[in-house]
């Protein structure tokens, strides 16, 4: 049964669907020749917001790279090792394309680590530390729950929202995110399938997985919450873009909200609702009950 589902996650499938599929003819994740809009480089407020957002993406992807590569040795079967090899490369590609975006935004190579330190969200850093402690213990079940269900399962919706919001105003970034979203969908699918089977085989693991979920979800939700409270509001962003001749026309609809017109509170609310709704469903499918974090968003 497990082997059958893993056939859908082999390297041959990955090669055909990813490098030879949706990444074909891309350059650092976007269409060749696409650039950041000039206003992103000229307007200090827009630029700083783009840098801050990109820093969180890089840190999340660095954590995912360390976790997925570290889990290869802990995987209980050879097919899971091979899937994690593809995930490792996906995560490294994400690190590369988002790092490249920082360079495109004018950050110099020798400033990179300092910029990451300056803008790093402390909750995201704590999340990464917790996940990597689990990986270091070679705990495959807890590691995949943390990485493929919590980190990727939650980040997936944030990426979707950012992608919808960037389609009109920054097609380069929207294209970069589209490839990342396609990868994350595969990782989440693997996590659900593999962990569902392992929890059925080892029901005694359910309690500590739920405890881990409670702790890690808190840090993820706190990271997203902070993202909306820092930097300019969506309306201010839209006004600054409009001054440069980039009309967002209220932005794309995402989950029934006009992204360019919503207040930060509305965005936080819709993102939180979506994440939690989907996340609870996902946990239910693998046989784990959602535990409300100690200090909800």
């Amino acid at each position: 049964m497990t082997t059958d589902f893993l056939k859908g996650y082999d390297i041959q499938y990955w090669l055909e669907s990813c490098p030879q599929g949706y990444l074909m003819d891309t350059e650092y994740g976007h269409q060749p020749g696409e650039r950041e809009p000039d206003v992103m480089l000229r307007d200090p407020v827009l630029r700083e917001q783009a840098v801050r957002t990109t820093v969180q993406l890089i840190l999340g992807e660095r954590c995912a790279l360390a976790a997925s590569s570290g889990l290869i040795n802990a995987a209980p079967d050879e097919a899971s090792k091979r899937f994690l090899a593809t995930q490792t490369l996906d995560e490294a590609r994400h690190v590369e394309v988002f790092t490249h975006r920082l360079l495109d935004l004018g950050i110099k190579n020798n400033e990179l680590e300092e910029v990451l330190k300056t803008f790093a969200n402390p909750h995201l850093v704590r999340f990464a530390e917790t996940l990597l402690e689990v990986v270091d213990r070679k705990d495959f079940v807890a590691g995949v729950v943390g990485q493929n269900l919590i980190l990727e399962g939650m980040a997936f919706h944030v990426f979707e929202m950012m992608q919808a919001g960037s389609q009109q105003t920054n097609p380069k970034f929207a294209h970069t995110l589209a490839g990342t979203i396609a990868d994350e969908r595969r990782h989440v699918g693997f996590g659900e399938n593999r962990i569902g089977a392992l929890i059925r085989e080892h029901p005694e693991r359910k309690a500590d997985v739920e405890k881990l979920q409670r702790e890690m979800s808190y840090h993820m939700l706190a990271t997203f919450g902070a993202a909306f409270r820092e930097g300019p509001s969506p309306q201010e962003m839209a006004e600054r873009l409009a001054k440069a001749g980039i009309e967002s026309k209220g932005g794309q609809d995402w989950q029934g909200v006009r992204l360019g017109e919503a207040t930060p509170e509305e965005l936080e609310q819709v993102l939180g609702d979506t994440i939690l709704k989907e996340f609870k469903k996902r946990l239910q499918r693998v046989g784990v009950e959602y535990q409300t974090p100690l200090v909800p968003m």
Binding site: I11, S69, N73, A85, A92
Partner: protein, 258 residues
């Protein structure tokens, strides 16, 4: 995606250093020889291994290649955490997926040859010297010893695989040949990275030579024994053993770790 890349060994060292460690470089490199292939070969290549004895010997060899590729997969994945730079981490992630692909295409070849439970068959036929190499390599990786683990993996193991796979491809049936030639192309990239990375570090820290010599002294006998076993199984004359060992020894000499 741009022009196909040239042989990495012919690149200017600085160009290699700047570009060869990115996902973009990897993608361009593999796209040429993997496009249109399925599990490492073109689907229309006919099966020509029919004799039971030939099949049995090939299964033994492929099982041991699978052991080597599993060592490489686990090693490349684990080394990402200890790699000293971001580009080195990105390169190792491309190597990780290469090693995973090698394992997959070799397991697929075993299935084609009628092996119903490859995992069990690999465990049954694994050479003791290769298993011992796995144990020692695992210790280096777990000890976060970047230089020694990279030397064991990207120089010793990959050079051995490169030499044996390349020779085996010349003697093999058409399906196995295509699978092996695809793997060999990846191995060249891995060896290039290992030599380049270690070459730079050896220049900065000459004391490192002593450490790598120790590693070599421990692993050489295991690797050379594996050479002998593989060449005997693939039907190459005994004299070839020396020739194949030569390319491995040349690589080690290039690094000054005689």
């Amino acid at each position: 995606m741009g022009e196909p890349v040239e042989d990495v060994h012919q690149l200017d060292p600085l160009v290699f250093w700047e570009h060869a460690r990115s996902f973009e470089f990897w993608f361009e490199a593999v796209q040429g020889y993997l496009e249109g292939s399925s599990f490492g070969r073109h689907p229309e290549v006919p099966e020509s291994v029919r004799e039971a004895d030939e099949r049995d010997r090939l299964v033994t060899v492929l099982c041991n290649y699978c052991v080597g590729e599993t060592i490489a997969l686990e090693g490349a994945g684990s080394l990402i955490r200890v790699a000293p730079s971001r580009p080195a981490k990105v390169f190792l992630s491309t190597q990780t997926v290469d090693e995973g692909r090698h394992l997959e295409v070799l397991v697929h070849r075993l299935l084609e040859l009628g092996v119903s439970d490859p995992e069990a068959e690999i465990a049954r036929r694994a050479s003791p010297s290769l298993q011992e190499f796995r144990r020692l390599h695992g210790e280096l990786v777990r000890g976060d010893d970047w230089d020694a683990a990279l030397f064991a993996q990207n120089v010793i193991l990959e050079e051995m695989e490169f030499a044996v796979f390349h020779r085996h491809a010349q003697l093999a049936d058409p399906r196995t040949r295509e699978v092996l030639l695809g793997i060999v192309k990846d191995e060249r990239r891995h060896i290039g990275f290992g030599e380049n990375e270690l070459g730079r570090r050896l220049k900065r820290a000459p004391d490192l030579q002593r450490r790598l010599r120790e590693v070599r002294a421990e692993l050489d006998p295991l690797i050379l024994r594996t050479f002998r076993e593989a060449i005997a199984e693939i039907g190459g004359p005994a004299a070839e053993r020396e020739d194949l060992s030569k390319s491995y020894l040349q690589a080690v000499t290039r690094l000054g770790v005689e």
